[in-house]
Amino acid sequence: MTKLIGIFLLFFSLNSFAATQKIEVLGMVCAYCAQGIEKSLKSLSEVNDVYINLEKFFVLVESKNDFGIDEKTLKTIIVDAGYTVQKIENLSETIKDVRKKYEK
């Protein structure tokens, strides 16, 4: 029985995934200003990784859980850093995947 539970837990952990949320941000034109977004998001204990793309005006947040970060919290952080949130959506890709797509 213990083995069965162990196998079940292992299976479950292998199939669990981190949630990635994409935030489209208005006004994000320079790295010196946008660093506040990265630092504030990384200070959240549920956040695993953050990716900022100035060219396409978005921020990605990868959480340690599979349901993401509360949208209200994300919006507050972006607004406190001086920016405007245009849209928040869930992505099926990881930050690693997105980095590969945009960074040559």
Binding site: V29, C30, A31, Y32, K39, L54, F57, A81, G82
Partner: protein, 212 residues
């Protein structure tokens, strides 16, 4: 006796007071700034109490053949308005400073109050700002207008250092023929903001900001 008027004008022309430390960063961040040229040195520490307000301390020293001035003050910076679009940001800043200058050669001490308004517009490739400083002390009344404009040589990603060329033009309203031009190279990284320039009068200027 050294009059108070040359102290203020000298300080203003040396740009020792009130170069707004914008862009202000983010809530609970601390920023250190040093600036210097042949004649003056400046150290500034500020703390962002909210997403759009910061408070700080400033110390400066100006020294040449005629002057030996120490000064310092406290300041409050407020971003009164921010307009964000997909590829630009426009800001209106208010900067209030209260302090004291001390000319050690003439033993002349002078308190000052100095509000500044700054409007800036920035995209990933273009920067422009217009600021107007009002400096008031006992029997004193000086204004200074500063225009900065420039461009980035190329667009960069968030992780890369972005180089800019900025031309700074400064005019002090109360004095004639005192327009100064400073071509400047600006480098921006995530936590680092560096400007190095030489005025048309040959005075080098270095400006460094770091956010913790």
């Amino acid at each position: 006796m050294f009059s108070v008027k040359p102290i203020f004008s000298f300080i203003l022309l040396s740009a020792a007071i009130n170069c707004i430390a914008a862009p202000m960063t983010f809530k609970d961040s601390t920023m250190a700034m040093v600036e210097g040229s042949n004649d003056f040195k400046r150290l500034e520490l500020s703390y962002a109490i909210t997403g759009k307000e910061s408070i700080g301390l400033r110390f400066f020293n100006i020294e040449d053949k005629q002057h030996k001035v120490d000064g310092g003050g406290v300041f409050y910076l407020n971003r009164l308005k921010r307009i964000n679009t997909i590829n630009s940001q426009t800001n209106l800043w208010l900067y209030l400073e209260v302090g004291n200058v001390d000319n050690r050669r003439s033993k002349n001490r002078q308190a000052y109050l100095s509000p500044t308004f700054q409007l800036d517009y920035e995209t990933k490739r273009i920067y422009s700002s217009l600021s107007h400083q009002i400096l008031r002390g006992p029997h004193e009344n000086f204004d200074r207008t500063q225009i900065k404009g420039g461009f980035s040589f190329y667009e960069t990603s968030y992780e890369e250092t972005q180089p800019w060329f900025i031309l700074e033009v400064m005019n002090m309203n109360s004095l004639n023929n005192n327009t100064t031009f400073i071509p400047t190279l600006r480098l921006i990284n995530k936590t680092l903001f560096l400007e190095a320039g030489v005025s048309t009068k040959g005075d080098p200027k270095l400006h460094l900001m770091y956010t913790f």
